[in-house]
Symmetry: C2
Subunit: 363 residues, 2 copies
């Protein structure tokens, strides 16, 4: 089968412009423009006729021309660590649902962790063309200067999930403290006292909060915090070896932990995989609860206890806020911080260690 001749030479049909409508109705282009933009300085009659003609002729505005004219692109940039993760997938979904309905396009860039150069390149590439930015800050990168510069220049920015206070942007986050606190409390209430925490870094906002939640729960339960029970995997689980090493160290402790709280989707999955490979029985040998948005949590055997973040909602909220910002609709004199509550699902990977009350020394 051969392609029609015109296929090769970009022979796309010239689309209907504002001029065509003007000519068709015998009025000027500016009137058409006014009618279409629902201006108040246009007669009702003409407005109706223009709208009809537009529909009839199949007019679609050329967003490029509109953008060029008024300095807007009707697109927003999204920077996430990776799209290959159920949580961020849900976030994208949420963002998409609002940007789509509001007529904005999405330009997605992945920072893949902490490759600052790449992030910068992406910024270079896309930035003259976006009206606003949604960003989950890459990593412990101390260099927020480029971002700050953009913000100072007036680019509307909303941070979500991994945020920073060093730039005065609006924020949409999960209540990470609450999630980690409650999860740890669940473990404690189930009778565990030797609880390890595998996280990525103290320097990422959400991880720091989770660490705090973990520590607070222990403190309030009068369980001493054992720093060797806290492991940092800077590669965030992208390097399984790093996690393996952390686990090995934990199990090599003179008193090894009985339960683990994992701090991110990726780490949770990797830990689960490693525990399987190392033949640890969950929850008999080691209990596990982790931050994760996987849909498979309840299908795992044993089913996995998770802290589930409202990814879709987070994306929605962040996008709505951003678009309001772009449109200057709401006047934001204050930096807002929206905090969404995660859900805790206690499943079989955490098991009540002993029936009845928690140990006496815990009361």
């Amino acid at each position: 089968m051969s392609i029609p001749e015109k296929g090769s030479r970009q022979f796309r049909e010239k689309s209907v412009t504002i001029k065509d409508i003007a000519q068709y109705l015998g009025i000027s282009a500016s009137s058409v423009s006014r009618a279409l933009s629902d201006s108040f300085e246009i007669a009702q009659g003409t407005k109706v006729r223009v709208l009809e003609a537009a529909g009839y002729l199949g007019y679609k505005p050329n967003t490029l021309a509109q953008g060029l004219k008024n300095g807007k692109s009707r697109s927003v940039g999204v920077i996430i660590p990776t799209i290959d993760n159920p949580f961020f997938c849900q976030v994208i979904n949420g963002i998409d649902s609002v940007t789509n309905s509001r007529g904005y396009h999405l330009i997605i860039a992945q920072s893949h962790g902490f490759d600052e150069l790449e992030v910068l390149n992406l910024k270079q590439l896309t930035f003259p063309a976006i009206d606003g930015l949604l960003i989950s800050i890459a990593a412990e990168s101390d260099d927020l200067s480029y971002l700050k510069e953009l913000h100072d220049k007036g680019l509307p920015i909303v941070c979500f999930d991994r945020v920073t206070d060093r730039i005065g942007t609006h924020q949409v986050v999960a209540d990470n403290y609450y999630g980690a606190y409650e999860a740890t409390m669940c473990l404690i209430k189930a009778g565990y006292t030797k609880i390890a925490h595998i996280t990525t870094s103290k320097n990422v906002s959400n991880m720091a909060e989770r660490l705090q939640g973990y520590e607070s729960a222990l403190n309030e339960s009068h369980i001493e915090i054992n720093t060797s029970y806290i492991k940092y995997c800077k590669r965030e689980g992208k390097d399984p070896e790093e996690v393996k090493h952390a686990l090995k160290e934990l199990f090599a402790e003179s008193v090894p932990p009985e339960a683990i709280l994992t701090a991110s989707d990726t780490i949770t999955t990797v830990v689960l995989r490693l525990l399987h490979h190392l033949q640890y029985a969950i929850p008999q040998d080691i209990a596990l609860i982790g931050f994760s948005n996987t849909e498979m949590a309840d299908v795992l055997a044993p089913s996995l206890s998770t802290i589930y973040q409202p990814g879709f909602e987070m994306g929605e909220k962040a996008a709505e806020l951003l678009i309001d910002l772009i449109k200057g609709k709401a006047v934001f004199r204050e930096i807002s911080k929206m905090v969404l509550r995660p859900q805790i699902f206690v499943r079989d990977s955490v098991q009540r260690k002993q029936s009845g009350n928690p140990p006496a020394d815990m009361r």
Copy 2:
């Protein structure tokens, strides 16, 4: 903390234009343009000076203006059923990796199955602005007329995963026949003869091919095809009740199946979940192998046998092809169909029923 005054009124710094460079160097804008586009009708000296000045002044081309001028938007549309699925996530990832590096933006639209109206709306919304389209065809929608119209008008289109022959587009697909055939063969070789197949519809290309693979494997093994073992879930697993009903029917057969081949990511997950809920032991009560790209397959208990499709690669190939098409780089006189091979992972959800040879009647 209050926002700087300028924040509210879109006071973004005017960016450096081609004119600024021209003025800075005392030459004309067109020379600058030529230098930047690496035209051959420009002196080496000026070219170098322009490039230097551009770097120094921080020039970034205004893609809107470029697009308006030459009728290109440097963006490609992607239509997928849903992004909330590991396979399509990987596809997006693959697409993104090439479009990004080639300077194209992505406009992603989800068709969410078969809601034709929505698809059409999305098309209306985005289409004047895309240079090409990557699409995994929504559903059994017989109405490909809009798509065909676009194609006829010269819009470069590449179909992937779920394709159609009714429009002469290039295609990038997985070898669905092979995947289903091999998976079924695995079951047969493991000693199963009563094998059910849960799919979505005969009218979707990839599903039809999988069904054929399944049937061929049975045929070649001289196992009679039992049509009541083949269940269609038109909602593709989005409605668990439908799948539940299918399963109930299967198990109510006078001779119920011993193994199931599931035809899509979503269906596989739902079936797995239902089997758990219904307390069927895998693989003792029922063996399972399914199309799935989940990363959790090996972490499940029992680990899940899967047919894994090369999603990332599929996205890459489709995007490369599309951009070549857009650029008119390669001259495609023939419709191409690229077929990628899926991987089969036989894990614990399929177990050799009896040691030694398959039953005598199968040889």
